[in-house]
């Protein structure tokens, strides 16, 4: 238990860095979902199960879906036309 928590902190820093360094937004969606999953495991290890549950729902499901919707709206819509 004394080893797994520092490892999870370092893993969180790595996955957050990956979200920034993946420049293509379509691939960044996957990085964001993985970052949410890593944060969920970290929160559970930090004795915060309720926060981990909401981070699992929001950070690794809802927010990537929002990004996908925004990418779809940008892709299917020619600039300048109102819909």
């Amino acid at each position: 238990m004394t080893v797994i928590l520092p490892l999870l902190f370092l893993f969180t820093a790595t996955s957050g860095t990956a979200v920034v360094l993946v420049r293509d937004p379509t691939r960044q969606v996957f990085a964001i979902a993985i970052n949410g999953l890593v944060l969920t495991i970290l929160f559970d290890a930090l004795q915060a199960p309720d926060v981990a549950l909401s981070e699992l729902a929001v950070g690794s499901a809802a927010v990537p879906l929002l990004f996908l919707v925004a990418l779809m709206a940008v892709r299917t819509q020619a600039p300048g036309e109102d819909a």
Partner: protein, 135 residues
Amino acid sequence: MSAVTNVLPYAVAAWLFGVGLYGIATSRNFIHLVGCLGVCQSATYVLLLGLGYRWGSIAPIFYDHPPGTPAVDPVMQALVLTDIVVGATLTALLLVLTVQAYKRGGSLDPGKLRPMRAGGQTDRDRSSDRGRPAA
């Protein structure tokens, strides 16, 4: 070992915030920028939970523990819960603004963003005059 583990949550929070700011400053795409802002926010989650954590204590649920057992700080967990919800709302709002800026300006690059004019006409619309509805 103990000094390292005491400092580690704050170091990770500072690192995440710095990396997120770097991503925001160097981003060439609004959608990527919103993702980098999410990394900045995850720094606040790590900072708050690191503040409230105590080694060797239980989660603040006393259903199967006697009252008085050492537990981590539940106030910080409530703050993080609020932070997560506010962060999701902020992401949704900024993505909607991104889509609107793309509709108006025709680009997702922050460097190509033009100031808005009366009537919603941008330089690009005036030069190409493509797809404007008759107002």
